[in-house]
């Protein structure tokens, strides 16, 4: 009964979405305000209807209604409640439903908060949102209906993949989708602007908060996924350049570019057609990610069970959305007029460099991800290859180096024309700091890879450059503290947010460089009581005991780590066996210290009293997540800036920036 209500709500939602995509568009074309006004109630009803459908599916999972196919295929009565609820989106059908829910939430938010948007732009943007919703609702109803019944109902479900029964992964997909789908708003605004044939500074101002919100969620989602891979997969790694990881990383790279180029549109009324293209491509890559995961064209550990009709349907959506918007772009973008002039050394120039490097990096990742597919297509499936970390290390990393180096300087650049001499004077401190860091790192760890100290120096350069630019603005240490405090209060939150986000990147560079260069790994068979030295620590296997969890049996080892004879930590790595799935998972035991993780994994018994054990010392790994957290915090801080709140009264008199040659107090 409840499932049928969900089904009905979903079908009704499809009708509403069709209305939302057609009527306001006609209204905007004819200049009929009544028709345009339909967009708002349509967007609001849409969110209500898909929410009802989602609640119905959640109910079916919570009460373990195994007559619903999706529940029977992906849940189990013995599963803990958290995973019954998160299980709703841990499968193809439910995750598509969540995707549409989030899409509808963003659409309703645009309808609700976009009151100061020109009515025609708002109606057209909402119509485009409606079209995306129509496509995905049709996809769900016709190929992936989560409410299908089976008769007879099985006695119990097939269970959820044990790897996914983890708190970190429970919240990874919603965050990721908030990011992916959030970019649909920028996309809809881009398409609406192309239809109108007009992009101005105001357009940049409306698009930025949505892009920033999507970017912030996506950053959090990717970091959470990477953290999960680190502690759950048991190999001490945190990024594998897997096609599905790349699928989430590419929209992030282009979204970051979009975030920056939209600033140029807003402040300088230029770079418009490029920004429009970025908005289209960023969301297109989100769609591409959806296609890759669910069509089976690429093999990946993350891929959902696939079905060719689904693949064809998503490809059709992709062709409609991406193809349609790019055709519109080819037709309309040439009429967009470029605005102000600037010299290469200027804020605009810096942001263009940022965009070029990020787009190039994204293209590199795209090529590496799709290359196996292209090769198969060209050789008719005879040649199968996979592209791994060596390719990405050789291509992606060199592109990041100039980006990071320029990132420290960028905020110092003035709009229109920057002053290199002034900047080089200000960067001296950062340069000294970077050189000192390189030298110190060489002295402390002389036997690591040669490039690592330089990476550390780069992080120091970025950190010091970013921090001192912020300090300059509030005259920290150069004016009385009271004066600095007053300036800090006057500083836009988005400026501090930018500083935080850039500092987050610096912290992350430290973590990435440290963990990929200085990891110590030790794999051996140990009997209880035996110990092994790892990177100055002594790991002793005390014992291995059996136990049971809610829906699994487990073997838990006790590993005592001591240093110089003193006990430092006790670690309890586990293997869990899930009988329903017939599958085991490893639960790494991790002791985090400020500068390194101690990481222990217990494997199979060798049959004669010994156990395979893997011990790692992963230096600086936590800094990766700290960096991501700082970036997310920067994103939220910037979002809370009143100037980003569409509809908030503006303090400036003119939307145009003041024309000046000193650093503008902008983000």
């Amino acid at each position: 009964m409840i499932a049928e209500i969900g089904q009905f709500a979903l079908a009704l939602a499809l009708v509403v979405a069709v209305v939302q995509s057609v009527i306001p568009l006609i209204g905007a074309q004819r200049g009929n305000a009544t028709l345009m006004m339909i967009a708002r109630p349509a967007a609001q009803s849409l969110v209500l209807l898909v929410a009802v459908a989602y609640a119905a599916l959640t109910y079916a999972f919570v009460v373990s209604d195994f007559s619903v196919t999706t529940v029977a295929g992906n849940s189990h009565s013995l599963k803990p409640m958290l995973y019954k609820v998160s299980g709703v989106w841990a499968n193809h059908e439910g995750s598509m439903l969540l995707w549409v829910v989030i899409l509808a939430v963003f659409g309703a938010a645009v309808a609700q908060f976009g009151n100061n948007l020109p009515l025609s732009l708002k109606s057209r943007a909402l119509a485009v949102q409606g079209m995306i919703a129509t496509a995905f609702l049709a996809f769900i109803l016709f190929t992936s209906n989560p409410f299908l019944r089976i008769d007879p109902a099985p006695l119990d479900g097939r269970g959820l993949n044990p790897l996914l029964q983890d708190p970190g992964l429970a919240f990874h997909p919603p965050l990721l989708y908030l990011g992916y789908v959030g970019f649909s708003v920028a996309f809809s605004f881009a398409v609406a602007a192309l239809i109108e044939g007009r992009v101005d500074a105001a357009w940049g101002r409306w698009v930025r908060p949505w892009t920033l919100a999507a970017w912030t969620f996506l950053t959090g989602g990717i970091a959470l996924g990477s953290w999960w891979a680190y502690y759950e997969l048991g190999w001490g790694g945190w990024w594998f350049w897997d096609p599905v990881e790349n699928a989430s990383f590419m929209p992030w790279l282009l979204g970051t570019a979009l975030l920056h180029s939209a600033i140029v549109v807003e402040k300088r009324d230029t770079l418009k057609s490029w920004t429009i293209l970025l908005a289209i491509l960023t969301f297109s890559l989100s769609l591409l990610g959806t296609f890759i995961v669910r069509s089976g064209v690429l093999t990946s550990v993350h891929a959902f069970a696939t079905d060719p009709t689904r693949g064809i349907f998503i490809l059709a959506i992709l062709v409609f959305a991406v193809g349609g918007s790019l055709v519109l772009y080819a037709l309309r973008a040439p009429i967009l007029k470029a605005g102000g002039l600037y010299t290469p050394v200027s804020r605009e120039g810096g942001l263009i460099l940022n965009n070029l490097l990020l787009a190039l990096a994204c293209a590199t990742v795209l090529l590496g991800t799709l290359y196996p597919l292209l090769l198969e297509a060209m050789t008719d499936g005879r040649d199968k290859v996979s592209v791994g970390p060596p390719y990405f290390n050789a291509t992606f990393v060199p592109i990041m180096v100039p980006l990071f180096l320029a990132m420290a300087i960028g905020p110092y650049l003035a709009w229109k024309r920057g002053n290199l001499k002034m900047i080089s004077r200000r960067m001296i401190v950062s340069l000294i700091g970077a050189v000192a860091t390189i030298a110190t790192t060489f002295l402390l760890i002389p036997d690591g890879p040669t490039l690592t100290p330089f990476a550390m120096g780069m992080a120091a350069w970025l950190f010091l450059g970013t921090a001192s630019e912020w300090a300059d603005r509030i005259k920290l240490f150069r004016a009385p503290p009271r004066e600095s405090l007053r300036r800090l209060q006057g500083l836009p939150r988005s400026a501090t947010g930018m500083t935080l986000a850039h500092i987050g990147v610096a912290v992350m560079i430290i973590g990435v460089a440290g963990s990929s260069s200085w990891q110590t790994e030790s794999i051996q068979v140990l009997r209880p009581g035996e110990s092994v030295p790892v990177a100055g620590y002594d790991f002793r296997l005390d014992d291995v005991r059996d136990g049971t969890g809610p829906n699994y049996t487990l073997q838990r080892a006790t590993v005592t780590v001591s240093r110089n004879g003193r006990v430092f930590a006790e670690l309890y790595p586990e293997t869990r066996f899930f009988p329903v799935a017939g599958q085991s998972t490893t639960e790494a035991a991790i002791r985090t210290t400020p500068f390194a993780d101690l990481y222990a994994v217990i494997g199979e018994p060798d049959g004669s009293g010994g156990w395979t054990t893997r011990f790692y010392r992963n230096p600086l790994v936590p800094w990766i997540w700290y960096g991501a957290l700082i970036m997310v915090a920067g994103g939220f801080l910037s979002l809370s800036d009143r100037r980003h709140r569409v509809g908030a009264p503006r303090r400036e008199k003119s939307p145009q920036p003041a024309i000046s040659s000193h650093p503008a107090a902008a983000e």
Binding site: R158, S295, V297, I312
Partner: protein, 179 residues
């Protein structure tokens, strides 16, 4: 020239979409789980019988040729296995040769389960550490394989059998193989 720059994105996308489309056609049939073993001989393995059931010997690769065989992976702790058990029993009563692989189980538990619910299996191999099941590419229990009389795997059914699957999938394959 300037026009071409604006056309470039759509041209690249069209090429990509064409490649995607070509990779999608037909050669993906994920509904029949892409078992690498399909139409290949059964893997090399040898399993002992359950302890305390001398009348039911274990079996090995060689035992699978000579007749059409259904191999059913089951375990006493597996609820869906119990759900499909009456169907397995029916198939056996109708004359099918069914071998069981007892997956990650203890012998006494399996014996109790068979005593209680009936034992339709002609032979049972005890796969206590799931080594042999790994060779078979088993991803969970229950799973059911159909092998022809030369010992080749002709079908793999993941998950419990239902009356519909037996009617529409299992029986037609058995008929085709000349059961």
């Amino acid at each position: 020239m300037r026009r071409l720059f604006f056309l470039l994105p759509i041209l690249i996308f069209v090429a990509l979409a064409a490649i995607f489309a070509s990779r999608l056609d037909g050669n993906l049939d994920p509904s029949a789980l892409p078992s690498a073993l399909l139409d290949k001989p059964a893997p090399e393995f040898a399993l002992p019988g359950l302890e305390g059931r001398p009348q039911k010997p274990g079996f090995a690769t060689a035992d699978l040729s000579g007749q059409v065989t259904i191999v059913n992976i089951f375990a006493s702790w597996c609820v869906p296995c119990l759900a499909e058990h009456p169907l397995i029993t029916r198939l056996a009563e109708d004359g099918a040769t069914i071998y069981g692989i007892n997956y990650r189980d203890t012998d006494p538990a399996a014996a109790r389960w068979l005593d209680k619910h009936g034992d339709p299996y002609a032979r049972i191999g005890a796969d206590r550490d799931a080594r042999a099941s790994l060779e078979w590419g088993v991803t969970g229990v229950p799973e059911t394989f159909i092998l022809d009389s030369t010992g080749r795997i002709r079908h793999k059914q993941a998950g419990p059998l239902t009356p519909a699957i037996v009617e529409q999938v299992i029986l037609p394959i058995l008929a085709e193989l000349g059961q």
